[in-house]
Symmetry: none
Amino acid sequence: MPHYTRVRRGEEVFQIDLKSRKAIYEQVVDNFKRLITTGALREHDKVPSIRDLARSLDVNPNTVQKAYRELETQGYFYTVLGQGNFIASPSTNDDKAVQTRLNAVGELVRELIYHGVSKEEIIKFIESLD
Amino acid sequence: MPHYTRVRRGEEVFQIDLKSRKAIYEQVVDNFKRLITTGALREHDKVPSIRDLARSLDVNPNTVQKAYRELETQGYFYTVLGQGNFIASPSTNDDKAVQTRLNAVGELVRELIYHGVSKEEIIKFIESLD
Amino acid sequence: MPHYTRVRRGEEVFQIDLKSRKAIYEQVVDNFKRLITTGALREHDKVPSIRDLARSLDVNPNTVQKAYRELETQGYFYTVLGQGNFIASPSTNDDKAVQTRLNAVGELVRELIYHGVSKEEIIKFIESLD
Amino acid sequence: MPHYTRVRRGEEVFQIDLKSRKAIYEQVVDNFKRLITTGALREHDKVPSIRDLARSLDVNPNTVQKAYRELETQGYFYTVLGQGNFIASPSTNDDKAVQTRLNAVGELVRELIYHGVSKEEIIKFIESLD
DNA sequence: GTGGTCTAGACCACT
DNA sequence: GTGGTCTAGACCACA
C-alpha cells in the first residue's frame, strides 16, 4: 500500500504524502502555491471542486476544504458561491508576505553558508531557476 | 504571564515568542542555529545546561531538552556525558541538508517573484546579508 | 467568465461581484436598496423584469427572483400581477427595521473605536455623506 | 426545549441561538468581538479552552475551534501552543478593516434616513454609546 | 492539560 | 452541481 498519492493535472504533478509530518491540508496548499507560482495555474483558472479533489487524493472533503479556505485567506484563490474556486490575481503589494519570505531566505542562506555553500553558488542557483 | 522572553547572551539576544505559531522547542532550535551560523557561538563552545536555559527562558525543561536532542540529531550539538552539550564542527558535506535548503530557497524565490519582487532585488538582498 | 458585472442604469451603476463572499441575490438586494435610498429609484418606478435583469447581469433568473421576493418582503418593492415590480413607498414607522440598523451601527462603531478611530471621526464621516 | 444558550461570564452574557440563520461559529466570533470591543475582555486575558466553551455552549469542539481560528486570523486572539488562547492587542492600523466598517456604516445611515431617522438622531445615538 | 488534524457522514444554501 | 456548516469521535503534538 503506497502512503502517498500523485495525481497528474496536465503536465503537472500533484503529490501528497500521508506519512509526512506536514498536515495534509498544508501539503495541498503548498502544491497549489507551487502550481500557481510556476505559472501552471493562471488567473481565473477553475480548480477542481472540493469533492473531486478529495476523491482524487483519497482524503476527506473537509480536509480539502480547509486547504481551499487557507488558499483563499492567503489570496491565492477566490470562491464563487455555487460555482467553485478560481485562481486569484497576484497581490503585488503584500509587504508582510514579502518580509516574512525575505527573512526566511536570509535564515536559509546563513545555514547554507555554514554548510560550506558560498553566496556565489546560492546566487547562481537562484539565477538558474525557471 | 509575559508573552515573550529575551535573554542576552554576550552581545547576542535569545528570543522566544510565545504568541508565535511555531513550537517553543523549535524556536529554541532556531535561536541556536542563528547564533551558530552567525558565528556568535563557535566550535566546542559549551552551551548552557538544560536546567539553566529553561530557567532563563521561563519554559519547561522538557521543552529545552527536546530542542537540544533535535540540535544533536541535526549535527549542531554534541554531548559529552557528565559534562554537558557543546557546539559541533560544521558538517560541510551534508548534501541532504544542502539540497533541502536549496529547495526551500527555490520555493521562496518563486513566491517572492509572484508577489512582485524581482530576482535582482532578491540577489541584492542576499549580497547585503551579514 | 467575467468575475464582475457592471450595468449602467441611467447615471447609476448596478454592480455584482462574483468574487465576493456575499450571495449574488443579496448583492442584487443591496444594489436596489442603494439605488432606492440614494433616490436614484423613486416611489412607483418600475423595475426591470426578472428575465431582463438576469440577462443584463448574466446570472440565473432564479437568483434575481429570489432577490425580488426578498425586496418585496422587506417592503422595498410591490408587485402588480401581470405588470411587474415597482418601488414601494418608504415605511417611516418600521421600528423593527430602525432598531436592527441602529444596533448594527452601534456594533460597527464599537469595532471602529477598537481599531483606533475616534467617535469624532466617525461622526464627521457621517456628516460628510451624500 | 430552549433553542438558545446563554452563559454568564462574570457580568457579561454569552449568547448563542441555534435557530439563527447565522452560523454558530460566527455567533461565537461576534460574541467575543463584543466582549473585547466593550472592554469586558482585555489584552492578555485568557479565554476558555475550546473544550470548556464547547461544553458550556453544548456545541461541538470543532465549531468552537473554527471560531477561535477566525478570531486569531482577524487579530483578536493569539494562541499559545499547549496553553490556550488569549486576547491580543488591538491593531490600530488595519486600514482595510476600518474602510470596510465605514462603508457599512454609510450604507446603514442611508437606510436609516430612508426609514425616516435624521442624521442628527443617528449622531445623537452614537454619542450616547458606552 | 492545551490546540491541531482528520475521518465519516449528515444537512443546508446558493446557482 | 457547488461550497459551507456541524456532529461524533479518534488520534497526535506540545508544554
